[in-house]
């Protein structure tokens, strides 16, 4: 090894031994004897590497990268004999200060490497930072030698996923979580048995790329508590896991801890999807801090108006210029890195419609970034999920450029199911589309039901409990006089706003939650459950809890004791979905060659009422050959009644020798509301109708 001549220095600066580096890979890479640093900027005129002892406020040394080391627009240099663990590095860039032309170089700033793979400075969550630190988010070097043994991404078919959306800190931060390291990746790892018991096979983590919880932190005008950038939808470094989420963050071992979490999830059959925020960065607009991109190459990294101001399609001050080729390459490098180095199974792209805009903000018919991601050979088996809208008014649910690869958060599913559940008229035709995997959105283009990520609740908006406990949002504690957060919640409080002693209201809420869970898990498409909805988690009517590090966000695990019935119901519904391939169709029935059908019924069998006044529908899912020629596969039936009174639903006839069995009936209370799959209760042999309670759903299985 050490016989290669390029393992030896050729230059030196103040005793530091150097040699010309390699331009790729970008970032800092450990090489024999030293570290290869590489960074690019189109308009910088010089670049200086700034090295710190870990945590020090003044640099250890500043090494101007010799002009002769520059290749094109890339500065690259090997520095020998660095103690990998005790060094932090940044850059100073010289270049024009000319905001009108898009240049904001400032050599007084020390800049974070966009490719930094570990970032110090916020090692312990919530620890007040030194506001005078000249380099607040500090790039560190990491070992990329994690011992994965036989692990690799699971490649579970999308149609088989049951996604659970969670916040890495909220999941186990509450004292009731009872874990050794609350609010961390290690805490999440300790709760894997719970996830398995629930039956979900995929967790989707809200942002875990390094962010600054102190970005725009402020005292709460109502409570006095500190309000944080708690959710973390504001990236500081795209290649680094959030150190403050790691129990070992103070030791700088967040990379190992996170990889170990992924490995343990995989060992338990659970995939991991990351919620990634490529639409903007933590630098905000022209009044925000210069942390990295702004000082490295403002004109490249951001979408700028002709006057040099920041376009704000994200609603967060700036817009990452994703279809500039350099930025596009960074996004691709980043996702490849997480897929290959962290074994991540998929990505959910926040405000993904932005990724289809050109550098001047116009939507493109064939966006190169989305195409690159769809065809990339390293990301080839990763799930790609778009939040197919942005804050600039581009709404692409059903029309997101998909290249046969992209799935979407189906916002129409959320809205239509909510409206049906609360009893709105005229919802039956839309409901039927949503139950079938939204063929109106994803059928004509052959994207299939798995293009639809079905959800009724997500981190944005009400929890499932609050959806049926509040008519209105209650965001006063967010400090904006209740002006923030969406107003189109399609929620219904079931008779009393918020907490109540009224047992009838309480029972109705439980039933409504079960109705929602049953619909979600019986629908074609890919179900996503919000953390805690299986236990009745509440945010006390707050539908925008982005800033709260308290029990508005934390999962209170004692809810599982109070709402055992809900958890039991959710668990059995998930198990039912896993039991029946009919519920996990890869293609839209009726459009594809699949030999199975959705057959619509109503209170009258074979005769659904599609009229505007209707609040009922039923459907049967059946293989065409069921009951014939030795095919004994089950037939599934679901009756949905959003009307306030009980209605008898006439049951369709079954094949000879088949008999209906009751799996779920949300009109009954636990434990009579649901049975273990395979242990359903047989109906009377000649029972030809079923009384479905008001605002209730029933699921039957027909089998021999």
């Amino acid at each position: 090894m050490d016989t290669r001549i390029d393992f030896y220095p050729t230059h030196q600066h103040q005793g530091y031994k150097l040699r010309p580096g390699r331009p790729v890979p970008f970032g800092a890479t450990l090489v024999p004897g030293g570290v290869n640093f590489a960074i690019c900027s189109r308009y910088a005129t010089s670049c200086t590497l700034v090295l710190f002892e870990k945590g020090a406020s003044t640099p250890l040394v500043e090494i101007p990268i010799p002009e002769v080391f520059r290749i094109g627009n890339t500065w690259c240099m090997v520095v020998f004999d660095l103690d990998y663990e005790r060094i932090e590095y940044g850059y100073r860039m010289e270049g024009p200060w000319d905001p009108k032309a898009g240049h904001r170089f400032d050599a007084s700033k020390i800049l974070l490497d966009p490719y930094a793979k570990a970032i110090g400075g916020r090692d312990v969550w919530g620890e007040p930072p030194d506001w005078n630190d000249p380099y607040p988010h500090r790039a560190r070097l990491i070992f990329e030698d994690f011992d994965w043994e036989d692990d690799r991404p699971l490649e579970t078919p999308l149609a088989d996923l049951v996604i659970y959306e969670l916040h890495a800190r909220s999941f186990t931060r509450h004292p009731s979580a009872g874990v050794k390291h609350p609010g961390t990746y290690a805490g999440l790892m300790a709760k894997i048995p719970y996830l398995k018991e629930l039956g979900v096979n995929c967790v989707e983590l809200m942002p875990i790329f390094e962010f600054d919880e102190f970005e725009n932190s402020r005292p709460n005008p109502v409570t006095g508590e500190t309000m944080y950038n708690y959710w973390g939808y504001s990236t500081v470094g795209f290649f680094a896991p959030k150190a403050g989420y790691a129990a070992t963050g103070p030791l700088g071992m967040q990379v190992d801890e996170f990889k170990n979490l992924v490995k343990e999830l995989h060992r338990n059959g659970i995939e991991i999807i990351l919620d990634v925020v490529f639409n903007h960065t933590a630098e905000g607009n022209e009044h925000g801090p210069t942390l990295s991109f702004r000082g490295i190459d403002n004109q490249t990294y951001y979408m700028l108006t002709p006057e040099g101001y920041y376009f704000n399609f994200s609603g967060c001050g700036n817009t990452l210029n994703c279809n500039n080729p350099v930025v596009r390459m960074m996004v691709l490098d980043c996702l490849r890195y997480w897929a290959a180095e962290y074994h991540i199974d998929g990505f959910r792209f926040d405000l993904a419609a932005i990724l289809g805009r050109d550098p001047w903000g116009a939507p493109m018919p064939n966006p190169p970034l989305l195409e690159s991601l769809a065809f990339d050979p390293i990301l080839a088996k990763c799930k790609l999920i778009a939040e197919a809208w942005d804050a600039g008014g581009l709404y692409q649910v059903g029309s997101f450029p998909a290249y046969g690869r992209w799935a979407e958060w189906n916002g129409k599913y959320r809205d239509d199911i909510r409206r049906f559940l609360k009893g709105d008229e005229g919802m039956i035709p839309a409901l039927a589309q949503r139950l079938q995997g939204s063929p109106d959105l994803y059928g004509w283009n052959r994207r299939g039901p798995t293009a639809s990520i079905n959800f009724i609740t997500c981190h944005d908006g009400f929890t499932l409990y609050d959806l049926f406990a509040y008519n209105y949002k209650h965001n006063e504690v967010n400090g904006e006089q209740n002006r923030d957060g969406g107003d189109d919640n399609h929620s219904w409080n079931c008779g009393a706003e918020g907490e109540t002693d009224n047992s009838e209201v309480h029972a109705l809420r439980q039933r409504m939650i079960k109705n929602a869970l049953a619909i979600l898990l019986m629908s074609h498409g890919v179900p996503m459950i919000l953390m805690g909805d299986e236990a009745g988690r509440t945010q006390r009517g707050n539908n925008n809890t982005y800033c709260h590090d308290n029990d508005l966000n934390w999962f209170d695990w004692s809810l599982l004791e109070r709402n055992t019935g809900l958890f039991h119901f959710a668990r059995q519904m998930i198990a039912f979905r896993k039991t029946h391939p009919l519920l996990r169709a890869r293609e839209h029935l009726g459009i594809s060659a699949v030999q199975a059908d959705f057959i619509w019924h109503g209170v009258h069998a074979w005769n659904a009422d599609w009229s505007p006044g209707s609040r009922t529908v039923a459907f049967m899912l059946r293989e065409r050959q069921a009951g014939q020629g030795g095919n004994t596969n089950p037939v599934l039936y679901m009756a949905l009644n959003a009307y306030w009174d009980a209605l008898p639903f006439q049951l369709p006839e079954l094949p000879i020798n088949y008999r209906w069995h009751l799996f779920a009936n949300t009109a009954l209370s636990s434990p009579h509301d649901i049975y273990e799959p395979g242990h359903e209760i047989p109906l009377e042999p000649y029972q030809d109708s079923f009384l479905v309670g008001g605002r209730a759903v029933v699921v039957l299985v027909g089998r021999p």
């Binding site: 990998y84 050794k180 290690a186 070992t248 030791l251 700088g252 071992m253 190992d256 801890e257 990889k259």
Partner: protein, 114 residues
């Protein structure tokens, strides 16, 4: 950071006793001292009771030893690992590669039974 390393043999098993802080500065030295002690089909006990701090680089030396031992069809046991270090190892995935014992005697017993 300086560390002390002592090597002895008990019941034909090599016992390496380490004291001090294992970090990026001391890890390479430890590695060069311990690696040559691994023998074909051999067993080795690392007594870490005197180790007060272990950085990421230190954990990597342990894993390297383990991998080298496996390659030689040998075994490595750790003894006397401090609770905080053990916890870090558990959270980051290093721990489960090793046979871990409270004391050197227990480690010897375990290795001899295996």
């Amino acid at each position: 950071m300086a560390i002390q390393v002592e090597v002895s043999t008990r019941n034909e098993i090599t016992v390496v006793t380490v004291a001090g802080e294992i970090d990026g500065g001391s890890a390479p030295g430890l590695q060069s001292q311990v690696l040559p002690l691994l023998q074909q089909n051999g067993a080795l006990v690392l007594d870490l009771a005197g180790v007060t701090y272990m950085s990421s680089a230190g954990l990597r030396v342990l894993l390297l030893l383990y991998r080298q031992a496996v390659a030689r069809n040998g075994r490595v046991a750790l003894a006397g690992v401090a609770e905080t270090i053990k916890d870090t190892m558990a959270v980051t995935g290093f721990l489960k590669f090793f046979t871990v014992a409270g004391t050197v005697d227990q480690a010897l017993t375990t290795l001899q039974q295996a």
